[in-house]
C-alpha cells in the first residue's frame, strides 16, 4: 500500500514563497480585490498563523496557497512549484499528494465512519479502501480514538472529536503543507487548546509547514510566527513572544 505519498518536489527550507500575489473577484464596478499584493514566506517545520479582521483576504490567501484558487498576479511557489504553470489536473494531483486540509466545519462525509473519513485522501491517491482504512486507524490511535469511535459516524461524536478526525485526515497521506481554516472556532476554549496541542504534536515537523487561519487569540501561543493581514495585504509578521502578546492584546 502506498499510503505515504512521496513529495513531488525537492525538500527546501522554504515551503511557501509569495511575492505580490493579487486576486480579484468579479469585474467592473462589482470587482472586489481580495489580495492586493501579498508577500509571505512560510518555512518548513513552522506553524504560521494568519490573523486579521473578517474580509481581509485570509481565506482567499490560503485558498491560493493550497491550490484551490488561481491567483491573478504576482509570484507564488509552494515547494518550488507554481500552480499557475500547472494544468488543472496537475494542480489537483499536487494537492492530493502535498496538501492537507482542516476546515472550520470539519467537512467530514456524514455517511462514512471516522476511519473511512480519515482514509479518504489515501483512497483518492489510489490506495485500496481496506488498506487505506487500516492505515487511517493507526493515525486515529495517535489522536486518541478507540475502536468504537473509529466505527462511529461523524454525527455520533463531539465537535472536538470531529476536529481530531479532520486533523487525522489532513495527516494521513503525509502532506508537506497543511492549511487549517479556523480549526478552533467551532470548539470551546479547552477543546480548542487540546486540538492545537494535538496539531503541534503531530503535524508540525521538520519537513512540514502549517498555516492556520484564525481569529482565536487564545491559540496564538501555539504559533511559531503570526502574520497579520489587513485589506488584502500582509501588514506584518511577528515571531517574538512579546510581539505575540502585544498582537494578542491588539486583537482582543
Amino acid at each position: 500500500m502506498s499510503t505515504a505519498i512521496k513529495p513531488t518536489t525537492p525538500k527546501t527550507a522554504v515551503a511557501v514563497c509569495c511575492e505580490g500575489v493579487t486576486k480579484t473577484f468579479g469585474e467592473g464596478n462589482v470587482a472586489v480585490q481580495a489580495l492586493r499584493g501579498v508577500n509571505l514566506e512560510v518555512r518548513n517545520g513552522e506553524l504560521l498563523m494568519l490573523v486579521g479582521p473578517s474580509g481581509c483576504g485570509k481565506t482567499t490567501l490560503i485558498s491560493v496557497l493550497a491550490g484551490v484558487l488561481r491567483r491573478d498576479g504576482g509570484a507564488c511557489a509552494v515547494f518550488g512549484q507554481d500552480y499557475n504553470r500547472m494544468s488543472e489536473d496537475e494542480t489537483t494531483s499536487f494537492r492530493g499528494a502535498n496538501i492537507g486540509f482542516v476546515f472550520q466545519a470539519f467537512n467530514l462525509i456524514p455517511t462514512l465512519t471516522t476511519a473511512e473519513n480519515v482514509a479518504t485522501p489515501l483512497i483518492i491517491n489510489g490506495a485500496k479502501p481496506h488498506a487505506a482504512v487500516s492505515h487511517a486507524r493507526e493515525i486515529l490511535i495517535q489522536v486518541g480514538f478507540d475502536d468504537r469511535m473509529m466505527r462511529s459516524l461523524p454525527q455520533d461524536i463531539s465537535g472536538g472529536q470531529q476536529q481530531r478526525v479532520a486533523i487525522a485526515r489532513s495527516l494521513v497521506h503525509n502532506p508537506r503543507l497543511i492549511v487549517c481554516d479556523e480549526p478552533t472556532s467551532a470548539l470551546d476554549s479547552e477543546t480548542g487548546r487540546k486540538v492545537m496541542e494535538l496539531m503541534r504534536e503531530l503535524a508540525v515537523g521538520k519537513d512540514r509547514a502549517l498555516i492556520v487561519v484564525t481569529h482565536d487569540a487564545r491559540i496564538f501561543d501555539f504559533a511559531d510566527r503570526i502574520a497579520e493581514m489587513n485589506d488584502g495585504v500582509i501588514t506584518r509578521v511577528v515571531d517574538s513572544p512579546s510581539e505575540l502578546k502585544s498582537m494578542q492584546e491588539k486583537v482582543d
Binding site: 484551490v68 484558487l69 499528494a97 462525509i109 455517511t111 462514512l112
Partner: protein, 385 residues
Amino acid sequence: MNFIALKMLLGDRAKYIGIVIGLTFASLLITQQLGIFAGIMTRTFSFLSDVGLPDIWVVDPQVKYIDDIRPMRDTMVLRVRGVEGVQWAVPLYKGSLAVRRTDGTYQSCIVIGLDDETLMGGPPGMVTGNLWNLRKSGGVIVDQAGAAGKLAHILPGGKRVPLKVGDEMEINDNWSVVVGICKVTQTFQTNPVIYTTYSSATSFAPSQRLLLSFVTVKAKPGQDLNALCQRIERATGLRAYTRNNFKMVTFLYYLKYTGIPINFLTAVVLGFLVGIAISGQTFYNFTLDNLRYFGTLKAMGAKNGMLLRMILLQALVVGGVGYGLGVGAASAWGLIIGGRTQLAFRLPWHLLVISAVAVLVICLGSAALSIRKVMKLEPAMVFRS
C-alpha cells in the same frame, strides 16, 4: 472512489430509497404497460400462432387482417392446389356464430371449420377428447377458457359448471355435441373458440353463396415462400401471405386503426416522466446535499474524472436496483394476475431491453444534471462556511 461513492449513496437511506422507489415505479409502469401492449397485440394474431403447420395463408385480396373475413369460392382450394410448389392446400372456415346456452341466452363464438379429411389447423393442445372425434355428427371441440367461462352451464344458485365432453349445444340453431376440450391462445375478442369440420361449420353458418375463409397451404420442401406466394397470387388472383407476413399485416392493422398504441404509449411516457420527475429530482437533490463533500474531495485531490465516475456509479446502482425491482414487480404482477384472469401480458426480452434503456436514460439524465453541477464546482468553496 467507488467505495466512497457507494457509502455516500447507501448511507443516505431516505434519499436512496426515494430514488429507488421512483425508478422502481417508472420501471414497473413502463414494463407493465409494454407487457400488456405486447400481450394484446400478440392476441391479434393468436389464431395464426395456433395454426402452426401451414406456411402460407391465401385470402381474398380485400382482406386487411386475420379477423377481416371475406369469403371466397370453394373452388379456390383446387386452384391453389394446382400451383407449382404447393404440397397441400386445405380449406379453413372462420366465422362468428351465436351459440345458445343452456339458460337460453346466446353467446357469440368463433367457429373454426377444419378440412374434413385432414383436420388440418386444429387446436394446439387437447385437454380432453380427441381431434378425430370431430368427424362424429355435430361434433365440436370447445376451448377450455370458453367451456369454463362464457359457455359454462349456470345453475340456479349462480354456480358455473364447465362444459364437458358429451354436453349438447346449439350453434346457430343447429344441434351439436361437445367431443373434446382444447387449449388455445386467448384471442383478441376473448370469445370462446369452437372447432368443428369444414362441412359442419359451413352447415352451421347462415346460408350464403361464399363460405371459404382461408386456404392454408403447405409448401414443398425447399420452396422460396415469397416466390410461392407470388405464384399463387398470379394463378388465383387472391392474396397469399406467409404466416409471419400475415401476422405482421394483422399487427400493423391493429396498430394503425385502433387506439391501442397511443393509449399504452401515453402510460409508458407517463411512467418515464414520473421516473424523471421523482428520481431525477431526488438524485439531483442528493448531489446538491453532497456538494460540500464533493468539493472537499476535489480539494483533497479528486479529479473531475473521479467525481464523474462516482456520480455515474451512484446513478447506475440506483438504476439497476430500481430496474430490477420494477421488472420483478411487473413480472410477478403478470404471473399472479395473468394466471387468475384473462389478462393479456407478455414479457419478451425486447421489452426488458426497452425498459432497461428507459431507466438508463432516466438515470443518465439525472446524473447529467448532477455531473454538470459537480464539474463546475470550485474546490475553493470548501473554505466558505
